[in-house]
Amino acid sequence: MDVAQLKRQLIAFTELLYREGFLDEQFNQLQQLQDENNPNFVAEVVTLFFEDAERILNELANNLDQQSVDFKKVDAHVHQLKGSSSSIGAQRIQRVCIIFRTVCNEKNVEGCLKCLQQLKHEYALMKSKLETLFNLEQQILAAGGPPSI
């Protein structure tokens, strides 16, 4: 596959991600920050995000597993995740976090568990999409073209 085709694919894929709400403007900002001084900025940030998110999701699962759920802690974790996701532009995850916080305020364990499920789902989706994105970028790089849009 040649560079132009790959590039078109990348553009199309990125557009898809924006359209479906996986990413928003913030991600674009991040990409703008990547330059020769900071060539892997996006990848680094995204990796950080994955680590952070996985950690938080585990913590949440633990917290919600308790007999008496400490909603304050749950709220704190969700807030963190919301902050992280909004920083990189993971819009869908951010949205679920907002809902999660509301449900948490109502002290609704059922709702919290549901939200956690949704978060895990969204996170998995996000991860796979971003990995695909990076793969495409790598391919373009390998094929000799300039990185990213």
Partner: protein
């Protein structure tokens, strides 16, 4: 002679016949005299009461003594001794005494005895009289009881037929009548129709004219009147060869209507219609109408009148109630239908909204993406116009849904400070292309005293102005459109057509008056009132050209203007003479900031922004690793020298004079931030040594922002932070030393 025996000789010889008779008589007298007291005693003992026992004793003594005298006399017929004679004398003397005493006593007693007799007679008469009266009272009681029972029967039902039938039946029973009939006046009022009888089952339309003398007579007085059995009203039963028809009585029964219940003159004066009740005693019975029976009849007639009117009232009210129930049902149905329609409309709007929004968002998103790319100036202008138009369109779509919220009254304005002049310029810029295509001249005239900034709902105000100017353009084929805006003074504030609208400007608010004059096709006077009603379009206009409006525009405008405590109206001299649309809205005067220089520049124009801050030493504090990395990346990109810490304690340790700015992420709004800021202020006593403190937060309400500035922070930036934002923030910080508005 026998003188020596001291005996007495009777005067006559004992053998004399006369003596013999005397002897026998004396004997019987004595017998009788002795037996009388015995009898007396016997009979007195038998009867329980005899008041004069003393007399009896006396009388008894007298009789006994007389008897004794005569008994002793028996011995004196022959030779008898002196003793006998003495005894005889004593007896006689005693007898004399007692009899005189008795005689004397009888003088007293006999009048008494006689008076007892008269009293007895008197009492007997009295008793007889009382008996008679008792009889009368009992009769009256009976009558009263009958009346009560009758009344009770009559009043226990509210159905007029039952009332009348019961009356007749009960009367017939109480008074043992042969026949009882009720004649009711016909509708015309000229005849009496036989309506009810006691014994005949179906009286068939038998009528008599109402103006017969006998009938007039009965109607004239309120008492029962005896009438002749031969009068037409009484001749209702077949004359079956009876000899003497019983007496007949007739009484009037007033028929009362609702309006007749006047307390003072009831029932004499207010009733006009009567029915006639005719009662006939059985024939051949020689019975006569007694007074109490007549009274009974009169009372019953009155009661019947009352009962009938009650029944009439009840019928009336039942009918009204049925009518109301029907109406209720109909209304309920209508309401439910209306509700269904409203729900359907809302659902439709919601769905359509969503369907319309999705492509809108795609347009907006992609246009903004496009803006970020390399564009020529013309292209950039075009893209900007697309963006603005699509934003407006999105707002319009929102407002279609808002209209229903407007009608509920649940819409609230989004007040904010904005640039009034810029708003007008933007509107004009938007319309200019369309106007120039139509070769219309568009002139904007802003009064010099119109403030540059105002507080209000910018988007909706723009919508209103745009709508009105848009209409002016739409309905003008040529000529010019002039838009003037100025601050409304008191005398201009009132519109003659709405005298109740009396706005009063104050220190915090002013009223802006905007007038849009066009030289277009104008509006006829009869269409003027319909302008502001939803979906009502000018039929003539739409026939002549494709107006393309939704019909919502002016209605929405009116509601927005009303929400802004204002007033909107349109004047036109007629078709073809153009029209003038005017509105007045209340806008707030933005408060002066506490800083000395009133520099409200929420967006610094790009030419003044520094694009690179090389070597600027900054410190970033953020607990969240991801956002820390992002913020660091941003600042690095802008050329800063970035140090990062992840907790407030580390931050305090690390901060130094060399850092120009400290960016701190505040998780819990206010608390950690205050502390930090205070600590930093403490650490650096002299203000010029202290780094600028900027809070980064996801929560953005005015209260929080004021809290920050109060706590000694120099600015607030809202996450997510874009490159532009950071750039502007740094510029503003370095130029002014603080950030005015949270960006």
């Amino acid at each position: 002679m026998m003188e020596s025996c001291n005996c007495f000789e009777p005067h006559w010889s004992a053998d004399e016949l006369l003596m013999k008779y005397q002897y026998i008589s004396d004997f019987f007298i004595a017998l009788a005299y002795f037996s009388i007291p015995l009898e007396l005693i016997y009979f007195v003992k038998k009867s329980s009461v005899f008041p004069y026992r003393w007399v009896l004793v006396q009388f008894g003594a007298f009789i006994v003594l007389c008897g004794a005298t005569h008994l002793i006399n028996l011995w004196t017929f022959s030779m008898h001794t002196r003793t006998v004679e003495v005894v005889m004398t004593i007896a006689k003397v005693l007898t004399a005494v007692v009899s005189c005493a008795t005689a004397l006593m009888l003088v007293h007693i006999i009048p008494d005895l006689l008076s007892v007799k008269t009293r007895e007679l008197f009492l007997k008469n009295k008793a007889a009289e009382l008996d008679r009266e008792m009889g009368l009272i009992r009769t009256q009681e009976e009558t009263g009881r009958h009346v009560r029972m009758l009344t009770h029967e009559i009043r226990s039902t509210l159905d007029r037929h039952t009332i009348l039938k019961t009356t007749l039946v009960e009367l017939g029973r109480t008074l043992a009548l042969e026949e009882c009939a009720l004649w009711m006046p016909t509708r015309t009022g000229l005849e009496l129709q036989l309506s009810y009888t006691l014994h005949q089952q179906n009286p068939v339309g038998y009528t008599v004219p109402i103006h017969l003398p006998v009938i007039n007579q009965v109607f004239g007085i309120n008492r029962a009147v005896k009438i002749s059995p031969n009068s037409p009203v009484a001749r209702i039963r077949p004359v079956a060869g009876k000899y003497i028809p019983g007496e007949v009585v007739a009484v009037r029964v007033p028929l009362l209507h609702l309006s007749n219940f006047q307390i003072n003159d009831w029932p004499e004066l207010s009733t006009k219609r009567y029915a006639l009740m005719v009662l006939m005693l059985p024939s051949d019975s020689a019975r006569q109408w007694h007074v109490h029976e007549l009274e009974l009849v009169e009372v019953v007639a009155d009661q019947v009148a009352v009962a009938l009117s009650h029944a009439a009232i009840l019928e009336e009210s039942m009918r009204a109630r049925d009518l109301l129930m029907e109406q209720n049902v109909a209304l309920d149905l209508a309401r439910r239908e209306a509700e269904t329609a409203i729900r359907a409309r809302n659902d439709f709007l919601a769905v359509m909204n969503h369907e319309m929004r999705t492509p809108m968002h795609a347009i907006i998103a992609l246009s903004s993406l496009l803006q970020e790319t390399e564009l020529t100036p013309e292209q950039r202008l075009m893209v900007e116009t697309i963006m603005k138009s699509s934003n407006l369109l999105a707002t319009l779509i929102n407002d279609v849904l808002d209209l229903s919220r407007l009608e509920d009254g649940s819409l609230q304005l989004d007040d904010g400070t904005f640039n009034l002049h810029a708003l007008f310029r933007e509107v004009v810029n938007l319309i200019k292309p369309v106007a120039s295509v139509k070769k219309l001249l568009l002139a904007l005239n802003l009064a010099p005293d119109l403030p540059e900034y105002a507080v209000g709902d910018e988007k909706r105000l723009m919508q209103v102005i745009l709508n009105i100017i848009g209409n002016a353009v739409k309905f003008s084929k040529d000529g010019s459109i002039s838009v003037t805006a100025f601050v409304a003074k008191a005398e201009y504030l009132r519109d003659v057509k709405a005298p109740e609208f009396f706005p009063v400007p104050s220190d915090t608010h002013f009223y802006m008056r905007v007038q849009v004059k066009d030289s277009g096709s104008g509006i006829s006077p009869q269409d003027l009132p319909k302008l502001f009603t939803t979906f009502a379009q000018n039929q003539a206009k739409s026939a002549s050209r494709n107006s393309g409006g939704s019909g919502l525009g002016l209605a929405i405008c009116k509601r927005f203007v009303n929400l802004m405590d204002g007033h909107i109206w349109v004047e036109s001299k007629g078709l073809g003479k153009g029209c003038i649309a005017t509105f007045i809205v209340k806008l707030g005067i933005p408060e002066q900031l506490k800083e000395t220089k009133f520099l409200v520049m929420p967006k610094i124009p790009s030419s003044h922004v520094r694009s690179h801050f090389s070597g600027l030493k900054v410190l970033v504090m953020d607990e969240n690793s991801v956002s820390r990395a992002v913020t660091k990346g941003l600042l690095l990109h802008l050329g800063c020298d970035v140090a990062t810490v992840c907790s407030s304690s580390e931050c305090l340790q690390a901060v130094s004079q060399e850092h120009r700015v400290v960016f701190m992420d505040v998780y819990v709004p206010g608390i950690d931030g205050y502390e930090m800021a205070v600590q930093i202020h403490k650490k650096f006593a002299k203000p010029h040594e202290r780094p600028l403190i900027v809070a980064l937060t996801g929560h953005a309400d005015k209260v929080t922002k004021e809290n920050y500035t109060g706590a000694g922070m120099d600015g607030v930036i809202l996450k997510p932070i874009s490159l532009e934002k950071m750039r502007m923030a740094l510029s503003e910080l370095l130029e002014h030393g603080l950030i005015f508005e949270a960006i």
